[in-house]
Subunit: 240 residues, 2 copies
Amino acid sequence: MTPSPSIILINPQLGENIGMVARAMLNCGLTDLRIVNPRDGWPSDRANAASSGAFTSGVTPTLYTSTADATKDLHFTLATTARPRGMIKDVYTANGAMEQAHQKITEKQNVGILFGAERTGLENEDIALANAIITIPLNSEFWSLNLAQAVLLVSYEFHTQGDTTPSHQIHTGKTDIANSDTLNLFTTRMIDTLSSHDFFKSEEHRPTMERSLTNLFTRHEWTDQEIKTLHGIISAFIKK
Amino acid sequence: MTPSPSIILINPQLGENIGMVARAMLNCGLTDLRIVNPRDGWPSDRANAASSGAFTSGVTPTLYTSTADATKDLHFTLATTARPRGMIKDVYTANGAMEQAHQKITEKQNVGILFGAERTGLENEDIALANAIITIPLNSEFWSLNLAQAVLLVSYEFHTQGDTTPSHQIHTGKTDIANSDTLNLFTTRMIDTLSSHDFFKSEEHRPTMERSLTNLFTRHEWTDQEIKTLHGIISAFIKK
């Protein structure tokens, strides 16, 4: 697996949330989880239960006693906050921050992202240790995310920026996209069949109607299998 | 608020999950929640508790008894599935799908997104009713998201594509970015002060050292307030 950012939870409260964080991380291919002073202790049965197996499928949790200790091998540390803290600091969207993260990782730097406790978020002392801030752009009137959701969005931005899935594709299974010839054979057959069933009442309007009928099908994409089905529909309709 | 996609939950099981879906929607400015045959009934105290107030802050839930009924006013319906279902169908990433959604909404079309039950996902019958599929690109070896997380990622893609927050900015509070003159006055003072404290042992190397000292500061961005602090540091050091 290619290197990815470390997720660093500072004073997380609930074991469940740590487990859900691990699940969200692994959904996006992140594996290094650092936990600083979890309130309810570690290891945690509740964390394991909520992780959906993330801890046995790749996420490695490590316990730390201070933020400085948990970040000492990092070259680029980001702090997540929902609101400005009156500090002079670079602020990135999750998207902008993960663009930076990819670049730093290409330069062999270690990147980590700090997340504060559920109720209070990060302390200013922790934010001061970070090189920059991430503020996820959300509805400004209802912006409070739970911990795992915040981790998910940042991890997702990292994952999708490295992902090569085309934004649009067509699932055709074992069939292929029909070419012009296949499509034209169908529209021609349809028009001929309609003609022999007295569809065209006026010879004057016939060219316009033929054009509309052709266009009805050419403006969409069809597979060979779908054209076969369309032929089958005509055959069924005209059967005595 | 600008129009946004409807979120349609088909046979959701747990009230908690419906509440967390509402919260995730409103985090991203989505408000129209349609619920088809929730297993545990509706209204739901558990949904309200898990929503963090989303139902009283903007999300309006509506109950339906069939997918066809819940989607009948829509022009463009998307079905979320983690894996291909052997149907000939357009497949979008969450990003690609929400790009389409913005375009359709600009054309005054109603857009909705179907999400299946927690354990089983969408039935093929429901997917057949949709115009296209969304498959969120995730870690192919650990792709199972919980319901609210799936809704969050799709809603987030819709929200961020309409958002104008610059991907990078600098929070400077009441101060401004220092201009060249301010920065040069500082580096000049620093070099002069170092000179009077016998920092430059060799006149031969002095030009190179001066260049390095200047560069130490010019390659970063500073605010007026930070330059004042740096001046203060020098003043403190040289005080008898």
